[in-house]
Structures are given as C-alpha cells and as structure tokens.
Symmetry: C2
Subunit: 188 residues, 2 copies
DNA sequence: CGCACCATGTAATGCGTTACATGATTTT
DNA sequence: AAAATCATGTAACGCATTACATGGTGCG
C-alpha cells in the first residue's frame, strides 16, 4: 500500500525518497506512515516495475540525491486504484484495547493509570492536529491555488483525525468513570 | 501481538486453536483478528517457548483436537505484559483515508459513490455491534458470575467500537456534504 | 447431493521494522 | 563540541496473509 502513498505524492511533482518521507510525516501520518528504509526499497521496486523513473542529481555541499518521477504507467496504475471503491470495512488492530480487554488481573489502580496516561497522549495529539495542519495546508494553497480542490479532500482527512481524537477523549473519560465506579478496589 | 490474544483467552480456560479463533471472531474482532493458519503457527511457537502445553484428545465422530493449556511461565509473561503501560500512541493505517486523500482526479461523483458506500458499511457495522454483543456477553455472565469484573472491561471495549462507528457515520455525513458543496461537478 | 461445520496443519509470499553502514553541513 | 538535518542504501528478522492439503459429520 505504501506504493500508492508514493505514487500519490509523485503525481504532484518529482521528488526524492527523503522528501517523500517528510511529506508523509507532515500530511499523511494521520492515516499512513513508513520508515525511510521501506520508502527506499519500495521506490526501487516501483522503478523495476516501470511505475517511476529516477535520476541522480549532484549538489554542492550536500549529498547527491535521487529524484523520482512518475511514469505514464505509474499514473495509470494510481488512477485505476483510486477509482476502485473499497467494498469492505478495514480491520482494526489496537494493542491498547487488547490490553484493556484482558486487564482485570492487574487491578483497578493500574488500569486507571493506563487510561489516564492514554488520555494525556490523545489530548496532546488533538492539539497537534489543530495547530500543525492549519499551518502547512494554508501555505501550500497560497503557493499553488490550482490545488484548491485537492485541499478540500486533505482537509476532510485532517478533520477525521480531529474527530477521532475527540471520540477517544470522550470514550476514555467514560472508561475512567466506569472503572472508578464499577470495579472493586485492589485488595492490599 | 497475537501471542497475547491467545494467552489472554487461555488464561481463562484451556482450549483448541479452532475454539480460540471463534472467541476472537465473537469478541475481539473489534480490535484484533487473525486467520486460523496464524493461530496454529503462533500456538506452536508459544509451546516451544514454554508458555503453553498441549495434548491431543480423541473424539468420536469428530476430528482429533489439540487442547492448549497456559503454563505458569505463560501466565507470568501475560501479566507482565498487561502491567506495562503503553506510553506512545499507536499508529493508524487506513486505506480508505489514503484513497480519499489522493482522490481528486477521479472526480466528484466517484468520490461521492465511495463515501456513500462506506456510509452503508459502517451503518451495518454499528447494528452488528449493538446486537451481537449484548447477546454473548450477557450469556457468559449468566454462566460464570465470577467474571463480572472482566465483563466491565469487555463492555468498555465494545462501547469503543460503538463510539467509533458513530464517529465514522458523523464524519462521513459531513464529508458527503462538503464534497457536494465544495467540489465542482465533473466536466462531461 | 452439496454445503457448512469441525479440525489441523505447511509453504510461499508480502509487507513492515530494526539494525547496520556512511558521511558532510548546519544549527545550537 | 554536540546534535540535528540532509541523504541513501542493505540485511536480517518478524508478523501476517494466501494458497495448498486433508477428511469426516450433520443438515437441508
């Protein structure tokens, strides 16, 4: 799947693996992420498959960089993938919920600690979504007003992240209340 | 991680790989799932590591079954894992959001189709959460009232699934409205 | 008669992470 | 002087999926 993240970005403009990573960090981290090592290997297989081409560029006072450009075949593959609707729900895996599900043996206080810690983490996350994104998305639009329609979709995805965090906070608060009231105290 | 799903269930009572799969389907599918093939191979490695032991049981008119029992070492490992709090947020991957993020080239109508289809899927999912779970969780409690405290946590996790679906529906409705109003119609 | 359920496993492949390896420039 | 940024890659490993392989019982 990382394949389509890379093709998606390269469809806007040619860039290096390193730059792709920063784009991912600043805009898709919300729903997709990858390590540099995987980005580089995936770019390599994409080039072997003919979906991108690359050329080295020498820079002064900086390391050489390999710039990737999407090909016609790559663009076709991307568009065909985008057009195909998802007809099944995606499966979720959450270590946190898994732990909570089986957590009874560790006792009430330990469970509350876990929940409160998670509450703080999500509060922090919500804050970052609201700050960072308004900054970068607005800047891109000033530079490239052609992307106004793309930006509508970017904002929807950002909004999803915000709603998800709000939901998490609501649920965690509910969970803390329930545990406090319904679980018996740890026996000393 | 599947390791801890299996140990978690085996900590209640011994059972087979096949039974573990049905437990996963009916109660943890919400936040963790696995194919039978993976369950069997993971049980094997757990046995090699000494966290579970197994014995074959012959049945009349049914295939033999291999019953797994958690060991003291397995229980210790599980408890130690449960006690360790998660200090970082989990990363999310969503093919659906990824597609939406890059979807502009497929045009307004195709995007709306994707969103509406997803809306139906989540509406269906919400319904199943509300139906199925009230059934099975209630039944277990009638059979084993000792598990009342465990059931509090099970219900919290179920509630998370419900809230997540509600959030999804809210967002999808918002997304449909935004796309209808802010994206220009496809050029014919 | 065909399908679903019970029941267990192996092999091949794919996707992703961690660790290893290198090295100059700019910022603190 | 140390840390962060720029920049690219390989190798080993782990987790998960798909496909393959087998076979009896019960139900409609």
């Amino acid at each position: 799947m990382l394949k389509y993240v890379l093709l998606g970005f390269l469809n806007y403009q040619p860039m290096t693996g390193y730059e792709l990573e920063r784009h991912i960090q600043s805009s898709t981290a919300n729903f997709w992420h990858a390590k540099l090592s995987q980005i580089y290997t995936t770019l390599k297989t994409l080039e072997q498959a003919g979906f991108v081409v690359s050329e080295m560029e020498s820079q002064e006072g900086r390391p050489d960089r390999r710039i990737y450009t999407i090909t016609e075949a790559g663009r076709n593959d991307l568009l065909q993938w985008l057009a195909q609707p998802l007809v099944e729900l995606e499966t979720v895996k959450s270590t946190f919920l898994l732990k909570l599900f089986f957590a009874r043996p560790i006792g009430k206080q330990a469970i509350l600690t876990h929940l409160r810690l998670h509450y703080d983490l999500h509060q922090q996350q919500l804050k970052t979504y609201r700050e960072i994104h308004t900054k970068t998305a607005g800047q891109i639009l000033l530079d490239h007003p052609v992307l106004a329609n793309d930006a509508v979709l970017w904002n929807l995805v950002r909004r999803f992240g915000e709603l998800r965090e709000l939901m998490y906070l609501e649920w965690l608060q509910e969970a803390i209340d329930v545990v406090e009231q319904q679980l018996p105290g740890d026996s000393a």
